[in-house]
Symmetry: C2
Subunit: 366 residues, 2 copies
Amino acid sequence: MQENPFAVVARSGDRVADLSTPRPIIDEDRLAANIARAQAYMDRHGLNFRPHIKTHKIPALAAEQIAAGAKGINCQKISEAEAFAAAGFEDILITFNILGPQKLERLGALNEQICDLKVVADSGVTIDGLSSKFASSKPLTVLVECDTGGGRCGVQTPEEARSLARRISDAPGLIFGGLLNYPKPGAAVAVQAFFENALSLLERDGIACPVVSNGGTPSLFEAHLVSAATEHRAGTYIYNDRSMVRAGHCSEADCAMHVLATIVSCPTADRAVIDAGSKALTSDLLGFADFGTVVGYPEAVITGLSEEHGVIDLSRCGGSRPQIGEKIRIIPNHTCVVSNLFDTMVFHRNGVVTRVEAVAARGLVW
Amino acid sequence: MQENPFAVVARSGDRVADLSTPRPIIDEDRLAANIARAQAYMDRHGLNFRPHIKTHKIPALAAEQIAAGAKGINCQKISEAEAFAAAGFEDILITFNILGPQKLERLGALNEQICDLKVVADSGVTIDGLSSKFASSKPLTVLVECDTGGGRCGVQTPEEARSLARRISDAPGLIFGGLLNYPKPGAAVAVQAFFENALSLLERDGIACPVVSNGGTPSLFEAHLVSAATEHRAGTYIYNDRSMVRAGHCSEADCAMHVLATIVSCPTADRAVIDAGSKALTSDLLGFADFGTVVGYPEAVITGLSEEHGVIDLSRCGGSRPQIGEKIRIIPNHTCVVSNLFDTMVFHRNGVVTRVEAVAARGLVW
């Protein structure tokens, strides 16, 4: 498959070791195991699972997640939902406050196209905008986003959640779809308390709450601690990354994405430079001080990135140091942003390319 | 122009204030002034100017830079050079150590296609690889990359520069093209000393050095202090950004790129959330602690980005605070990486769209 008019990325049967770099590659066996493990956990605890496709943006992978048992998918913006609706997905939740005439227009078209579209709102402004659009068409399902500690969007109290749930219920063209949070990892007790309180307020008002949606990969395997939740959303778990290893969610052996890079320069004994910079790995630190783990060289530190170069400090390495021309593998800090930089993703089993998928929703602006 | 199958980004004559967000926009007058000011400075000091197209990746803008008087263009990877060669550019310098069979193959094709292709090398490994490819075809011009303080690639001493210059001169298929550095801002004295010493060693050996290429936007207006240089390379100056304001290269009024974003949530009195996250602004900090300057709200601080959300701390703002639904403009920390995230770039004059250009070399992997 080509991702630019000038070069073929890879073909099935190619050896991964021969690919041109920089190049993210996905291990099929780890991918399948990550999908199966998370789904088995959700099944065991009776939770609906809604994978977030922002991590991979590839319809074929979402199809594997659905085939494993996931109920539907989670998108973060309209363009992602449009790409996945075009690929045949019918149960799509967009976890964003959607505002503005162009987005409302596209949301309207999407709601006509698929059977089960849902969005979130955390303010009267968002709800009023949605209601103005959907009053005279097929109604739209809206969940109330709650800030249970994540510190991003979301109402601050169960009382506000009740108030917005009522406003949605009363709004022409809208259906109250439930409660949802942007999770803070490891905060199950606070999440449970917020949802429980909100649910009892809704019950008192006679407002049915069909869905309580919790989320996040870091605390995926603690999802059962939030018994108020009916579903869990997670994205990164499918590939995993360095931040998920640190969070205790997985081990390095569960990281399905490696970024292949070539050592292009060793200007000093202690400095190597690779052809993967911020336009391949991104500058996401996620609390780390460096830009990824170099597989096989645990003492090597990727200290800096410019756009197409990465600088590696080898001073803590012993005698085993990578040489000019050598290909290395990097576990990126954050897989979801790496996916966003590549038009195609290469998959392999035991180092032999199995398939190349278009990153269908990549680069689509809102 | 469309950048995805589902939405039109903008048309000439649209009001920028009406565009869907997030959306980088380029002010035509600032753009033209930035091009003219840098070129006038180079002309005044008799320096050839070679703009780095990684910042914009748009052939039409490189054509404006050439029309203003630039000698040729600088690319950072083969795919950029391929895209610009396809658009008709003939004088292209790729400032990278190019290794590996696929890249050498494409470099060979490019060298047949355009009249004046140049690359760099900082090791015998790179030179030997290039020589093996070009020995039996049209020769390739290779400059020696010198580390004059930038701490990335490059030979460490003038003696090593001489040694590699000789190796290039002696290699079948290669032509020694000169010396080049990856600059450390504000280090003109050290750069001059390195180049002077290397030049005198080359002269002693009877090796002609046609080009001495210095670079960087932060110290662009100090380029004349490096009298050994024959040309200067710079990318960011065309758009400018927050890091260039901090470096003293320009003022906020010279920043041609703003990123439009919408306030989508105000969960607390002191927190606003925008629809521009790391997939619009990138996580590039470049030494800042936050992710851009909010135009018109100087006390607002973009404290955190997730992929599609940005969190703004308003606690230091007085009574004037952005409201849900309001569009704000952000001066990004780093323009070059923002360009890399959008398939199209919208230009405007006084808030009215003038043109929409494809970011031709965006998303092309090496």
